[in-house]
Symmetry: C2
Subunit: 337 residues, 2 copies
DNA sequence: GGGCAAAATGACAACGTTGACATTTTTGTT
DNA sequence: AACAAAAATGTCAACGTTGTCATTTTGCCC
């Protein structure tokens, strides 16, 4: 492969002069610069990032550690946000997946360390509190879609599930609904609990009594292999003697099954029953007819801004706040009357 | 950071001896080996892959180029297959996304070249014929979920849409259906055309006449911003004077909307109408009630076996065949009577 | 005990860059 | 024309590994 030495010889200058041209350093005579650039083009020289790293210890590579990809494959959006930031900022991305395995994770951190990456984003596929297994690896790290256990000081960026659910509940209440069903996500999910808490708080603030709300558990068991009772709970809710006029779902996939239950029971959405979701998983929310009213998890922004935060950490900047929380805006579509 | 020189000094041996221990080379006295390993542990030494690459020109890094992630985010599964192979084979993965932009793609290949990666997988998010923009980059490359234009000699691995659709159609026919609707994917998709061709061939083989099949166009326009007519076409098909008894859909997302149309029309699945999809996008196929009968695209296997093929190409092995095609098995669930 | 071969270990330079500093050339001012 | 400063370019060693070959040590056989 063509090296800087080859270019220097062909251009009649020193290696250092070629390096200056490649790196855009100042004080290179324009004629020399053009001659060197011509040779680079002719010989097809591409700098060796490994050699550069060995000499300067400056890495332009970031690592992404993902835990596992759940059945709602949002990792695409978080990872895409990171990638787009990386591309805009001249960074390359190493990707590794732990599949939730601690030993694998430790191995991944070691591999990243052996690549001397500049920093890493630890991306959780669902909102939770974690403790990454960096061991004594000192890679600058930002947690995405999760936050650290109290003993750990990693900066993080996560969604505001509580605010989103609270706003969405108020949206439903403001439309006049007074009998509301709620099908909850697996309680093991932090986001699930936040969303439910916000729902409870909002209906309490609106003066609804316990008999006005009907909360059902839709998913339970170990994450990744949950028991799904959504469909049957939705059927039960909708065909009761005093059914709700609005059904709030822990996420869009739950809403999806609620739709099937409603339609199967001959109900019209939103005439007979309003249904709302959470997360704005567009594969579902836009495919449903009518389109789903929901609160949007800012996945892309979590990735993009998480990467930006990592850059600041790598550069030694003191972050204004360690834990950033991004809002989940209500997206009003046709499913809520 | 701790280097091999530090370890050598602390262990009282030469750099080369430490290198022998780290790399598991033979002819190292057991006592020496243990002493060196102890020092490595104590000092927390992690080899520098960059230095290793500079000296030996042997890379353990693979690149993944993805074009863009469509609204059915299967990239997770293809990429996961690649990642799992990489992890099992001690490889690290660089990931870059072109978003379908030729200039971005050229830049990605250059970046990969600057990292001196061993090889790359070019992953298309939908089945198609392509010509990657490697320029004169000579990186060993395998195409995944696509095949090369005739002028290009890249090995590839892709799904057998025709076989899957043919088998699925026969499955439907074998269940006695004789009036069959078909809602097709965007004709711009190679997979869409293959699936439709197979459907036509299978119904012709079964002796059905043109009046027995009703083919509708569900999606059209530029990929990524298609016009979606699935729901209305499904409604039209299902509420006609002589509706089909089975509805075949170009993919699972089309099946999803077909379900909504059927349920909205008061039809029971599969009693009143059988519905089948294609690709086994489990976010949809398992969430539908009853669960969807479909043909499964082998995304994970495309990734995993694509990576394995790349390894053989990198190692200079002559592949038995340049273009591998993986079957799409029928997955019989409850939606087809 | 000596000699020879195998095992174990070390020396050295090389890979491709770049930081630090030196040297040469050019330009401007007196 | 001379001198000083700025611009341009070059020299050299260093980063952290490993391939190649040399040297030393050990073990076995006669």
């Amino acid at each position: 492969m063509v090296s800087i030495v080859d270019v220097a010889k062909a251009a009649g200058v020193s290696n250092k002069t070629v390096s200056r041209v490649v790196n855009g350093e100042p004080n290179v005579k324009p004629a020399t610069k053009e001659r060197v650039q011509g040779v680079i083009r002719d010989l097809g020289y591409v700098p060796n990032m490994a050699a550069r790293l060995v000499r300067s210890s400056r890495s332009l590579t970031l690592g992404i550690v993902t835990d596992f990809i759940s059945t709602t494959p949002y990792s695409g959006d978080i990872v895409r946000g990171i990638q787009e930031w990386a591309e805009e900022n001249g960074r390359t991305v190493l990707l590794a997946n732990t599949n939730g395995d601690r030993d694998k994770e430790r191995e991944i951190w070691r591999t990243f360390q052996s690549h001397r990456i500049g920093g890493a984003l630890y991306v959780s596929m669902y909102h939770r509190e974690i403790s990454p297994s960096l061991g004594d690896v000192a890679t600058p790290t930002v947690l995405v879609n999760c936050h650290p256990e109290p003993a750990n000081g990693y900066p993080s960026i996560e969604p505001n599930d509580y605010q989103g659910s609270h706003d969405l509940t108020r949206y439903v209440l403001e439309r006049g609904h007074r009998r509301i069903g709620y099908i909850r996500l697996n309680p093991k999910l932090l986001g699930a609990e936040l969303r439910l808490s916000a729902f409870r708080e909002a209906v309490r603030e609106a003066g609804l009594s316990d008999s006005d709300v009907d909360i059902r558990l839709g998913m339970e068991g170990p994450i990744g292999s949950e028991t799904n009772r959504v469909y049957s709970q939705a059927q039960d809710l909708l065909t009761g003697s005093n059914p709700p006029t609005a059904l709030m779902c822990g996420n869009d996939e739950i809403a999806f099954q609620a739709y099937l239950a409603a339609l199967g029971a001959g109900l019209r959405i939103p005439e007979d029953i309003s249904i709302v979701g959470f997360d704005d998983f567009q594969t579902v929310s836009l495919a449903l007819k009518p389109e789903l009213t929901t609160a949007a998890l800012p996945y892309y922004a979590l990735g993009y801004r998480g990467a930006d935060r990592l850059m600041r950490v790598i550069e030694g900047e003191k972050l204004r706040e360690d834990h950033l929380v991004l809002e989940c805006p209500v997206v009003a579509r046709g499913s809520c009357k």
